[in-house]
């Protein structure tokens, strides 16, 4: 039987995937780059939690704020130092993506090196950490116990989503971001320089992804590979969202979380499929979505159909 645990985990993980997937969709929509540094945002977000708790800063909201700032700073730096010069020179999306791949490798091992050094200095194992932060307390709602970790995730996820919603719909820079993703010429009209708009977008992206990484760190163990483990899921989430719709991305987050928990548990019980085969389900979902409902139009698609439309 698929039980309450699976549903509960689906909700929980779905929230985290949403916080990680929304920024990927936003940045892809605006720039057309699948940014590999997204993986680093996640890992770094989680490690901000680790390092701050070493320093004694344990308030989760404080930590989340710092994670946001660090993630945002890295994202903006990448744009200014790498993406902008490259696109100004006329490099295409593929080249930008390869550059982001290089950045990913660099940041990943940079983080490894730092974690290694600090770990040696404080004589603690920082390569596999259980985060201990001051999170919201576990509450009891008329007999239903809501875990404090879940409550924290829910709260921060709601804050991030609200932040995205408010910025993108109510502020002029948010409207400019949407204009840039739809049509860059229109964007100039809003009066905000395009560079600022794109930088702001990257800050929102890196920041939110770092908070997502922190949330994952609360849910599971923190290692320098957390982002690498999650990227397939996050990518699948964004593809379900067509890489353009933020609402569908949010829905995709819960579809993937459900596939990995509820569907996986069902398959495990019915066919005895080992639980470690979780990523295969996600990969399968990804391939099916690409085949059946490919995110065409979201930048760089080919106007080509494998199957002839029905003759009327």
């Amino acid at each position: 039987m698929v039980g309450v645990t699976e549903v509960y985990n689906t909700l929980w993980i779905g929230l985290i995937f949403m916080v990680l997937g929304l920024p990927l969709t936003l940045s892809y929509r605006t720039t057309g780059i699948i940014n590999f540094v997204h993986i680093n945002f996640i890992t770094i977000g989680a490690y901000v939690g680790v390092l701050l708790s070493l320093l004694g800063v344990k308030n989760i909201f404080m930590v989340a704020l710092v994670a946001f700032i660090v993630g945002a700073a890295i994202a903006v730096f990448d744009n200014i130092a790498v993406f902008k010069p490259l696109s100004r020179r006329g490099a295409n999306v593929v080249i930008l993506m390869v550059a982001s791949l290089g950045l990913w490798i660099f940041y990943k091992y940079f983080l490894y090196a730092i974690v290694d050094l600090i770990g040696k200095a404080v004589k603690e194992n920082l390569v596999s950490v259980i985060l201990e932060l001051d999170i919201l307390p576990t509450i009891n709602l008329g007999g239903i116990v809501v875990d404090g970790k879940f409550l924290t995730t829910l709260t921060l996820a709601v804050i991030v989503v609200l932040f995205y919603y408010l910025v993108l719909t109510k502020t002029s820079i948010g409207k400019a971001i949407r204009a840039v993703s739809d049509n860059s010429q229109l964007a100039e009209i809003s009066g905000i320089p395009r560079d600022h708009v794109v930088n702001f977008m990257w800050a929102m992206t890196g920041g939110a992804a770092a908070i997502g990484g922190l949330l994952w760190g609360i849910f599971a163990i923190v290692t320098p590979e957390v982002g690498d483990w999650l990227i397939l899921e996050i990518f699948a989430v964004a593809v379900i969202g067509g890489l353009s719709s933020l609402l569908n991305t949010a829905i995709g987050a819960f579809i993937i979380a459900g596939a990995e928990n509820i569907v996986m548990a069902a398959l495990h019980e019915t066919f005895g499929l080992p639980l470690s085969f979780r990523p295969f389900i996600t990969f399968l979902v990804l391939v099916i979505v690409i085949l059946v409902k490919p995110p065409l139009g979201a930048g760089g698609g080919l106007p080509y159909r494998f199957f002839k439309p029905r003759k009327r």
């Binding site: 080249i95 490798i105 050094l117 698609g301 080919l302």
Partner: protein
């Protein structure tokens, strides 16, 4: 995370060759690695440099070639010598060791057959895996193949008949029957270099043709190429067939050099190394791909010998530095020398000669 020793071009392999420095040994070792990586770099260059397809999962096809050759060779040996034991078992390894040098033609035949089969099978897999993603834009291909590679590795780690995490051992060298190991590895290095040269010639002829012209057009603007009647999805899938087939051959060559395979030889980092080679050498230029492979394999191999003497290891794992360098190298070359060491040249077809003649006359 498994911390590999440096010399990560060869992850999962012990550093048995670190005992003492031997110039000839180093040269043979390096030239074999260089040739294998040059083959991989040429295949990636065909995809990214000429056609503009970002294949972030090159390693998957490399792995398929290696595993396929291992299974083929081990199964054939065990069948011929009447040993019934699982492929990965100690009994099998002992039997392979015992009979590995008895029938020279068997070794050589299996070597050739492995190369051919690897090319065909990996080519077909490459075609099938990528075909669905080809119309969806450049980002998807890369991520799908990257994930495919990781799924494959994950599967191999968990699949017992292929030895799960330990992999397969004791594959007889094609020249096992040559008693002197230096001669044996020397001959092998020459053969691998020869195959590399053949692959280079093939790639050069393929791209300096009307077909190569279409590939460049697809790299520039695939939509425009489609509107000029070129069957872009099929052409891209064909290039991935060729690229994957070549990578499969490299996998077979790698297997017979090492004599063993395990899933963790095929981590995504191997792909990134190949990317670094192509970008450093120059995208869209086969000579560049070879130069990139030569430089990076040389530095990597040399570091294997040098680093332990630097005394840095107490503070920082050299592996991290190596990989930070690879990442940074990719970014810096793209930023400051986008053409790489040997930049892209116009393709050579008779059309160019016609134009030249007309200009002169």
């Amino acid at each position: 995370m498994e911390a590999y020793p440096i010399g990560s071009l060869n992850p999962g392999r012990g550093d048995e060759d670190m005992v003492e420095f031997n110039v000839l040994g180093f040269l043979i070792d390096w030239s074999t690695f260089f040739a294998i990586y040059a083959i991989l770099a040429i295949s990636l260059n065909l995809e990214i440099g000429y056609t503009g397809m970002a294949n972030f999962g090159k390693v998957a096809f490399y792995a398929i070639g290696a595993y396929l050759s291992a299974v083929l060779t081990i199964v054939t040996f065990l069948t011929i010598f009447g040993v019934s034991a699982p492929l990965y078992s100690v009994d099998a390894v002992i039997a392979l060791g015992k009979h590995g040098a008895e029938l020279p033609w068997l070794n050589i035949g299996l070597f050739i057959l492995s190369i051919i089969l690897s090319a065909i099978v990996t080519g077909v897999v490459g075609y099938l895996v990528t075909y669905p993603t080809l119309r969806v834009g450049p980002a998807f291909l890369g991520i799908t193949i990257l994930s495919f590679g990781e799924m494959l590795r994950f599967f191999l780690r968990n699949y017992e008949p292929l030895g799960s995490t330990y992999g397969l051992f004791g594959v007889p060298h094609p020249f096992q029957w040559v008693p002197d190991p230096t001669v044996r590895t020397g001959i092998y290095a020459l053969i691998v270099l020869g195959i590399m040269f053949g692959v280079y010639l093939y790639a050069e002829r393929l791209v300096n043709s009307p077909f190569g012209r279409v590939l460049r057009a697809i790299k520039d603007d695939e939509v425009a190429a489609l509107c000029l009647g070129k069957h872009v999805p099929r052409i891209k899938a064909t290039v991935l067939f060729i690229g994957s087939a070549i990578a499969g051959v490299a996998g077979a060559l790698y297997l017979f050099y090492l004599g063993s395979v395990n899933p963790d030889m095929f981590i995504p980092r191997v792909t990134f190394d190949i990317w670094a080679m192509v970008i450093l050498g120059g995208m869209g230029n086969n000579k560049g791909a070879i130069a990139g492979a030569a430089i990076i394999t040389f530095v990597d191999r040399a570091l294997t010998f040098i680093t332990p003497s630097l005394g840095l290891t107490a503070y920082i794992t050299p592996d991290y530095i190596r990989w930070m360098t690879v990442g940074l190298l990719i970014v810096l070359v793209l930023l400051f020398k986008p053409g790489g060491l040997i930049p892209e040249k116009p393709i050579k077809t008779p059309a160019l000669e016609v134009a030249n003649k007309i200009e002169e006359g």
